[in-house]
Structures are given as C-alpha cells and as structure tokens.
C-alpha cells in the first residue's frame, strides 16, 4: 500500500513543465470486500494444503488486487513481484526464521545470539525489502524505485543499537551471583536503560521514516522528508496523553458502576464497598487495557500517517494526508466487533475497508503536469529475500 511520492530534482535535460495552477491528483480505492474475501479464502485453503509453499503466490495475488485497485489520478498501480523469485526469498528467510525459533527454544543464550544476529542484519533486510517493494511497483508504466543505501539503513537503525549494546555490555559485565543488595546499582542501571529505550523510541521511528521517505523515487524524481524529530516527540506526547486519559476515563466509569451496584444492593457497609471497588478496579484495569488498544492504535496510526505523508514531497509535488482519527476509530471498532462475531470471516472485508479509508484520505498536490514525467529505463530490483524477511520479521514499514 505504498504510494510513492515525487518531487522535482535537478537532473540535467529533464524539464518539467510547470502548471499555471497546482492540480490535485486524488487517490481512489476500488477494491471490494466480497471479492477480496474470495481471493483470501482460496489463498488460505491453498496455503494450508501446500503447507505454506503457496505463500508467495498468495501474496502476489493479494498485492496485485490491492495495487490494481489503488487508482492514483485514475490510473491503477501495478505490482510486478514474481512469485518464483519471492519463493526463493521466502525459503531462505523461512530457514532463517526456523533456526531463530529453534535457537530461542533451545537455550536463552542461543536465543540471545540469534536475536543479535537478526538485529544485526535487520537494517540490510529493511533496505532490500523497501528496494524490492518499490522496484516492483509501477504507475503509468513507470517503475518506482528506492534509493536508500545500506549505510543509510544502518545509520537509521542506530537508536536501536545503542540500548542493545548497553544491555549486552551490562549483562556480560555484571557479576553472576551477587547478593541483591550489592546489585542495587545494576537494577537502577537497567531501569535507566529501559527509560532510555522509551525516550529514544520516537527518535528511532523518525529516523526510520526519514530513511524511507527521503528515498522514494519515480524515475528522476525523488522525495524529501520534512518532518523533524521534534514533530515525532510532540506526537508521542499526545499519544501518551490519550492513553492516560482513556485509562482514567474507563477506570472512573467502572468504579462508578461498581459503586452503584454496591449501594443499590442495600449493603452500605464498608466491606461491600471494598469488594465493589476491588471489582471496579479489576474490571477497570482490563477494560482500560482494551480501550488503550482500541483508542490508542487508531489515534497513532492516523496521526503518524498524516504527519509522515504530509511532510513528504517538495515545492513541485507533495502528498497531503487528512485521515480522521474519529473515522479510523469507528472503522476499527466496527472491524473488531464484526471479526469477532464472524469468527474471523469478516477479516477480508475489514482489510478492504481499512485500505479504502486510509488511501482515500491521501491526495497529491502537483505543480507540474504528471504526464510529463519520465522514468529511468531500468531500476535495481533489490532482493526478494528482503521482501520475505519483511513478512516474517515484521519489518514492513510501508505507509
């Protein structure tokens, strides 16, 4: 669901005719839930009876359906991924993933080593995943590309490595069986590192998004990313505020309900009040967690999408994303309820509705005639293993 953006760059001999007035290129999603349902169910059936070998073919069918129904200015995106190439990548990554799980099951030490190795190659996989995804996407016959370098990927993932190195260093430096009292400093240092991890998360996210959004290209045109780390910190602050508020609100509601039950029950003594407040707090906690998941996730998704895409582009062409938190929240609640009621069968309808909502809230503002765009004849296709790794290790950072 990546929509590459473009901005003018000064390549010699490449003149884009400026327009009198900027035009808006709308993004439209024409997929249908009932049709995707049929694709999905056949995919799952084939996946299970082939013991997963069908996976790349299933993915290509899914991607081609979603891409083909994403119309940018009336023209659909094309997905060119070749399932046979992707199959080889999946096999390689599947073996890697199998070794990784086996190592984590075998012993904590082997698991740690496997984790370090995966973390070490993660940026490289991110880079080839992005490269593969972009190179296999086209619009009006022009292939997109991803221009990020390997060094850039490692630089972007830097904030991930700092606490990891600190923790490993501390773990190897710490005495094995010291008394808990002597170990107080160790606990405090660990707590400090945890805090540091939380504190640098927005910075890490900004770094990764900057790496991606600075490097999308359509032919000679490349995007730039104008959001700052401060924007990401502000957004995180707001998200934390939303989480705290929703927990407090749901806690209060449940305490009130419990209080009401206790008093209406006639037993107005302190014991039943105590039971009621324990009941209220217990339920409040679980509902609070649920509310955080239901409210916080759509809130962050909407805010990040709007921030990241609206800050992508430059004076000639840019993305504008106006995804409404309320609409996304409503869609999320609706999807959750229907998926649970239908025991999962509503899921493809939910996926289509989500894609429609998120894609159609984006449009492109252009100062140049999009028809005057030219692309490079051939782009580096990257590595299908990176794409498969994206699916296995969750490094797909698209949209």
């Amino acid at each position: 669901m990546n929509v590459a953006s473009m901005s003018q760059s000064d390549v010699p001999g490449m003149a884009h005719s400026p327009l009198q007035r900027p035009v808006q290129l709308p993004i439209e999603f024409t997929g249908s839930g009932s049709e995707y349902f049929r694709i999905w169910i056949v995919n799952i059936f084939l996946l299970i009876i082939t013991l997963g070998i069908y996976y790349p073919w299933a993915k290509v069918r899914r991607m081609r359906y979603f891409y083909g129904n994403t119309l940018v200015d009336g023209t659909p995106l094309g997905f060119h991924g070749n399932p046979r190439t992707m199959f080889k990548g999946s096999m390689l990554v599947g073996v890697l993933f199998g070794l990784y799980s086996a190592a984590s099951n075998a012993s904590p030490m082997a698991g740690l080593i496997a984790l370090v190795i995966v973390a070490g190659i993660w940026p490289a996989l991110l880079k080839s995943s992005m490269q593969f995804r972009m190179a296999n996407t086209s619009w009006r016959g022009l292939r997109l590309s991803f221009t990020g370098t390997l060094g850039g990927a490692y630089a972007a993932a830097m904030p991930l490595f700092i606490p990891a190195i600190l923790i490993i260093g501390l773990a190897s430096f710490a005495p094995e069986d010291a008394a808990p009292k002597e170990n107080m400093w160790l606990l405090w240092t660990m707590a400090g590192i945890m805090l540091l991890c939380i504190a640098i998360t927005p910075w890490l996210l900004w770094n990764l998004k900057r790496y991606q959004h600075n490097n999308y290209a359509l032919g000679s045109l490349q995007t730039t990313f104008k959001a700052t780390a401060l924007d990401f910190y502000k957004l995180s602050g707001k998200a934390i505020g939303v989480a705290v508020l929703s927990v407090l609100a749901s806690g209060a509601v449940f305490w009130l309900i419990a209080f009401g039950l206790a008093t209406s029950g006639g037993g107005n003594d302190s014991a039943s009040l105590g039971i009621a407040s324990v009941f209220g707090m217990g339920f409040g906690f679980f509902v609070g967690m649920a509310v955080v998941f239901v409210v916080l996730k759509p809130y962050t998704i909407a805010k990040i999408q709007n921030l990241v895409w609206t800050k992508t582009g430059n004076s000639s062409m840019r993305f504008i994303s106006k995804l409404s938190v309320r609409a996304l929240l409503w869609q999320t609640i609706k999807n959750w309820c229907l998926v649970v009621i239908t025991l999962g069968l509503y899921w493809p309808f939910a996926a289509v509705a989500m894609a429609r909502l998120r894609l159609e809230s984006v449009f492109i503002k252009s100062n140049i005639d999009p028809l005057a765009l030219f692309g490079a004849a051939r782009v580096n296709e990257g590595d299908a293993a990176g794409d498969a790794a994206g699916d296995f290790f969750g490094i797909d950072m698209g949209l």
Binding site: F37, H80, S138, R140, I275, A372
Partner: protein, 368 residues
Amino acid sequence: MDVPDTPLSALYFDGTSARGHAVQLHLRQGVLRVLGDGIDRSAPIARMQWPERTRHGMRIAHFPDGGTVQCSDVQAWDQWSLAGGHSESWIVTAQQSWRWVGASVLALLMVLVSIQLWGLPAASRYVVAATPLTVDSALGETTLAAIDQTWMGPSKLSEEEQNRLRAAIARNLAPLPAGTLPEWKLLFRQSHIGPNAFALPGGTMILTDEMVELVQGDDKVLTAVIGHELGHVQHRHGMRMVVQSAVLGSLGAVLFGDFSTVLATMPILLGQAQYSRDAEREADAYAVHVLKAASISPAVMVSMFERLQQYQQDQADKKKGASDTPGTAATRQEKTDANEEEDSPLGMAFSSHPADAERIRFFKDAAQ
C-alpha cells in the same frame, strides 16, 4: 501479415514516459501485438505478466522489458483475452465463483478439524520419535532451573524419608518387565502450589512435600501418582506439547496473524487444552498398567482424588474463615458454581484436565 479480426482499444505506456498512447491490441495464438501511432511491438503472453480476471480494477499487462498496456473495459478484455488463446488458471475460476468459495470454506474447515484431531497428534508423535532423548533431558533441565527459581523451594522432608519413598516406589515398579520403563529420577520440593506432582521432559519427576503429607507418606498411593507421571514421560507428552503448540501457533498466524496477535494465539489455547486432556487420559491408563503390575489396586488413586477434593474444600473454608465479611454466602455460591463448571461441557473446552468425576470413574472401573 495477418491480424486477428477483433482488436481491443487500450492505453499503452512505453515504460519511460508517463504519457499514455491510444493503441489497438491484437491477440492471436497467445501472442500480443500492440499497434498504434508509431508503435508496433509484440510479445508472447506467456512471457508477459498477464492480468487475472477480477470484478473490480482494470486490466494491466506488463511486457517483460518495460512497457504496459492498460484497459478499463474489463469485460471486453476478458472475452478478447480468452478468445485470443489465454487460458485462465483454475485458481482464478475458484476465486471468482461463490460455489467454489463455499466449497473452499467447507474443505478448509474439514482440513482444520482433521489437523486438530488426527494430523497434529500423529505428526508430533513422529517428530518426537525422531528427536533424540538428549533434547528431552536438556529441555527438562532448563525447565527445572526455571521452576526452582519461581515456585519451588528445597524440600522440608528428611533425607531418610525421601530415600525411603524412592526405595519403596522403585520396589513397587520392579515387577514391570525390564526395558519397558523410561529412565526416571524423583525429586522432592516444597511449593506454593499445594499438593501436586509433575514430570519434566527427560524423566525427572517432582513430588511436592504437600502431596507426600496429603497421602501421609503412603508409598502405594505415591506409586499411583508416579505411575501417572511416568506415563507422561513414557509418551513424551512434554515434547509433543512443544511441537503441537509450534504448529498450532503458525496455523493461528496464517489465519489471523495479520489481524490480531491475540486472536492468533486462540488456536494454541483451545487446541492445547484438548491435547492436554488426551495426554492425561493416556497417563492415567499408564498408571493403571503400572499399578496392576505392582499388584496394587487402582482404587488407591480414587482415595487420592477424594483427599485432594477434601484438601481443596478445606482451603476454601480456611479462606472463608479468614475473611470475615458479609460476602461469605456469595463466596460459597461462587465456589459451587466453579465446581459445576468443571464438569460442564463449556468448562471442558477450556480446562486442561478431564473432569475429576471422569477420572475417578476410570480408576474405579480399573479396580474391579
């Protein structure tokens, strides 16, 4: 030069410019020819990326070396494409027909149920049989270290008592034919979990002090308990659980993983509960086998269950006595509700052990 009779109007993009060109497409014997103003190129469609029939979306075909044709009149495209020698894959037919989709849903359900009922238990037995016993031992040691740190303390039983029980149990097991018993080792621990016994992969079994107290050190009853745990060791249930949860976990990930990780773990919980009940039944059968060889009546297990139930009742009463609040009537009601739930079919779906009543009946029948 012969050109088929029914050309199709489409847009052609050359792959270097975003500008589209109006062209006529000709398809004959699987070869596409694009003709337009200054454009004339052709390629066999087997080498192109050819679109599949869908109800929504346009048709885009990609040349292998760049260049794209695009058509928004999908019905015209589909007819033209079939007439020109493109054969549709059966998967596309299936995806576009509700009848086929209904059949897929049914087949999927049947496949999932068979995997749960037969496929997975058989597969895990096979995988575990191929796994060397050293893996069991290594897993058992790691688990023992972990539980010693969290819920177990050193046993308060005297060394003599521990050795007496080990010797008595070994004596009771002696009549079993040589080579049919798995390797075993018995450890005693004090625990926070009350009277209990469990087996770790690799043959290490743990008896809690509270269990020894509950049966007042009766070695016949303890042989029955150990016989049940030996059943778990003999059938390598611990290892089979590991294999089964891995497979159930990946199935869950395929079905629901991209929607919700919470939903994805449901198959593990529900599926494992059933396997765990089956494993308990197998272990009970093994316990009966051990007791018969040792000429001990399986009825000892019945008395163990009765003492265990008495113990649970006492614990509940103790709790009731400690909290002297008006809510006691409600607590007692809850307690009986919980007991009833244990035996109800709903309780069975979520519980890891067969209901006590069923197990008591099993041992009573075996005693006759």
